[in-house]
């Protein structure tokens, strides 16, 4: 049981769209990710997913509207809702999601990560 300093953990990696596990509670992981550019449209069949912006800003596109998240803002994307994260500039994001969650949800492509790294 060690505390996690978010800034320190973010300093340990520089790759985009590859969430790292920094905590484990109940059936979920806390992950940190650096995002830049556009991800892929996807949804999670069974998992609600929390995005908290720690640094920068993040656009989450939904089918019917856009949600802009600034530092200190979070949103919970419910299961089965298609979404597309977009970061015009580098953004640092904390994710909370069930351990079963795959980053690309219902999509499998070169950006899919099936075994996130723990840092």
């Amino acid at each position: 049981m060690e505390k996690v300093n978010l800034a320190e953990k973010f300093s340990l990696f520089s790759d985009y769209w590859r969430p790292k596990i920094v905590g484990d509670l109940n059936d979920s992981y806390v992950k940190l990710a650096k995002l830049k550019g556009e991800f892929v449209w996807h949804q999670h069949e069974e998992e609600d997913e929390l995005f908290l912006v720690v640094k920068g800003r993040l656009l989450i596109k939904l089918q019917d509207r856009d949600i802009w998240l600034e530092e200190g803002e979070l949103v919970i994307i419910p299961r089965k809702i298609e979404h597309l994260p977009v970061a015009e500039e580098e953004a640092h994001v904390l994710l909370l999601e069930p351990k079963s969650t795959v980053n690309t949800g219902n999509v499998r492509n070169e950006r899919t990560i099936l075994d996130a790294e723990k840092i």
Copy 2:
């Protein structure tokens, strides 16, 4: 599905040790609490609990050691681990815990809240 601005939500209340629900995902709640002073020793039988300090600093006393959390630091207290949160000055904290979690865990006293308010 509305975004949550943490600072704005914290501005909506001023009472200490009374966590407010600001989000709901999977089987858990995201709660915000203002803490000042000493809470009560307790543990949660079945629930792991995440504390993220958004403002100020928080001491979490364990039976065998102390964990000091500064802004931007989090810790996960596993189930069955006795802990005592202490805030020398006002601290703003984000909590993540299963919906079944009672703030005072295995203890019932005047600080116990069985129905947290949603804000």
